[in-house]
């Protein structure tokens, strides 16, 4: 019985994605047929076109930059949250939770005019910077949780043995925290990869990421094109999560579970 219920749950979770796969290869699919009448490679041609390729590269560049920057910014902040007890710690934590609660669109509308003035609008740099608002809180929180279980004596031993602060950090702290750093990089990459409205507001339509391209395709009511692009948007993050969670033997999964994507 339990097994049957579980299979039903799995089927409901997977069902919406099946339609996406079928539509991506359908030339025509008249109502009320249950399966497409004819196949086509039009979706494949679109996904492998130069426009999709450019959007894919833009998305990868932005998401990778956001993931790396968030982890670099989140690591020292996480150290303070995880290891230090001081007055104002709750205020710092509140500052880190607030951007997760308050919708990004409400924060970005007022900023847009300044991004134009600073020459950051319609640029990849501007899009990366604005996305950091969404990702730095997650990176700092994940790394803060990891630092709570970190044994500072490991660093002290390295220092006693003659390592400087930089070498102790790169040779001891970072390797010990590697699973948490991987989880932080993965989660911030996913948030950036999925982001639509902030990219539109600051990129002004000039920074064409995959979600922007997909949004335009959905609006054109060409289901085959939209579904093919949808598969291109969904495949990399899902593969990444499955691969990395296997590498970390469930630890990343747990950390992803602690926060959200």
């Amino acid at each position: 019985m339990r097994r049957f219920v579980a299979i039903t749950i799995a089927a409901i979770v997977i069902a919406p994605l099946v339609g996406l796969i079928l539509w991506s290869g359908a030339r025509s699919w008249p109502y009320p047929d249950l399966l497409p009448a004819e196949g086509t490679t039009r979706g494949l041609d679109l996904v492998t076109s130069s426009g999709s390729w450019e959007a894919l590269v833009t998305s990868v560049v932005i998401a990778t930059s956001v993931a790396i920057l968030s982890s670099i910014i989140g690591l020292p902040a996480g150290r303070v949250i995880g290891l230090h007890r001081f007055r104002g710690r709750r205020l710092v934590q509140l500052c880190l939770i607030a951007p997760v609660i308050v919708p990004g669109i409400a924060v970005t509308l007022g900023l847009q005019v300044f991004f134009i003035r600073w020459g950051l609008s319609e640029s990849i740099l501007g899009v990366v910077l604005v996305q950091l608002v969404l990702t730095v809180p997650y990176a700092a929180t994940i790394l803060g949780a990891a630092f709570e279980g970190f044994d500072v004596d490991l660093e002290r031993q390295a220092r006693v043995l003659g390592a400087g602060a930089w070498r102790a950090t790169t040779l001891v702290t970072v390797p010990v925290l590697a699973p948490a750093l991987a989880a932080s990089a993965l989660l911030t990459f996913l948030i950036s990869w999925s982001e639509y409205i902030l990219t539109l507001l600051i990129g002004g339509g000039q920074v064409q990421t995959l979600p922007l391209m997909l949004f335009a395709a959905i609006g054109s009511s060409d289901s085959t094109a939209a579904a093919a692009l949808g598969l291109l948007v969904v495949a990399p993050p899902v593969l990444l999560v499955v691969l990395i969670s296997r590498l970390l033997r469930g630890r990343a999964g747990l950390l992803i579970g602690m926060v959200r994507s």
Partner: protein, 295 residues
């Protein structure tokens, strides 16, 4: 060298230096962004020069039917989606936890859906639930409807069913992952003890299992609520332009070619930010109260 020494030896300075990059991002872009939305909603226009303080934007927002119908819709979508995803997610976790090797596979499946962007989720739900979607085709095949016109409007409907369906489909696995992570070996031992002490099945669930889940599940639910109240791409694709949730209304005013509607866009953005903050604050107060009552 002495400066570096002074910085690293004082704990306060050290903390400030370590926190500086993160606080810079949040201070400039988050607090600065909110302050700008507030200033611009009160009549300040940074690039146009013509600025005076006024509540005009709030007055016009309060009488605008698009804004008035939006508040209820935003709350309805947020609360219904969160409740459904929480109940279904915890239910899924309770089913999956004792599956043995199946638990590993189901957890992996749930984690995989966490990585699906909401934009793709919206496309999937639209292909599934539209009048000519898969569900309508299956309903036709088994004789429930005669044609696509008879199929009930589930996307671009006035109530927001399509939007809610997307959020529930995406957030139920998230809640299940959270609940599964909280179902540890410790919980198993507690349940065994209560079983030995004679607790019936529903007593164990009510007094042992669920109390162990409420803190992580509650925190996750508040994240889901904040997200479902503020997301833009899902309601814009699966809902109607009117009535639309606040995130869509604020963007509609913002992208209006008439620049004088900018202050109203900012007023709606401030309203949306305030609404989500109040709801998160209420939740935190409830948690504090129930903790105090328990101890």
């Amino acid at each position: 060298m002495t400066f570096v020494h002074a910085v690293t030896s004082s704990p306060v300075m050290r903390r400030a230096v370590l926190l500086a990059p993160a606080m810079l991002v949040i201070g400039v872009f988050f607090i600065g962004g909110l302050a700008q939305a507030l200033a611009q909603s009160l009549g300040q226009q940074p690039l146009l020069g013509d600025s005076r303080w006024s509540f005009d934007a709030y007055r016009s927002a309060a009488t605008d039917p698009a804004v008035r119908s939006s508040i209820g819709l935003t709350l309805r979508i947020g609360i219904l989606s969160t409740l459904l995803a929480t109940v279904l997610g915890v239910g899924c976790a309770l089913v999956v936890r004792r599956l043995g090797s199946g638990r590993v596979w189901m957890t992996r499946l749930f984690q995989g859906t966490l990585a699906v962007p909401h934009l793709v989720g919206a496309l999937c739900i639209s292909l599934l639930l539209s009048p000519t979607g898969q569900v309508s085709r299956v309903a036709h095949a088994i004789g429930l409807v005669d044609g696509s016109q008879q199929f009930p409007a589930l996307v671009q409907d006035g109530f927001g069913w399509g939007i809610i369906a997307e959020y529930v489909w995406k957030e139920t696995p998230f809640m299940a992952v959270i609940a599964l992570a909280a179902m540890t070996a410790d919980l198993n031992r507690l349940e065994d003890v209560s079983r030995t002490l004679g607790a019936a099945r529903w007593q164990r669930l009510r007094h042992v299992t669920l109390p162990m889940l409420d803190a992580p599940v509650g925190a996750a639910a508040i994240l889901v609520l904040a997200f479902t109240m503020g997301s833009y791409e899902v309601p814009v694709l699966l809902g109607r332009p009117f009535p639309a949730p606040l995130s869509v209304v604020t963007y509609q005013s913002f992208s209006d070619t008439d620049l004088t509607s900018r202050p109203q866009a900012m007023a709606v953005a401030v309203l949306l930010a305030t609404l989500t903050t109040i709801i998160a604050g209420l939740y935190l107060m409830l948690v504090q109260l129930s903790r105090r009552r328990r101890t």
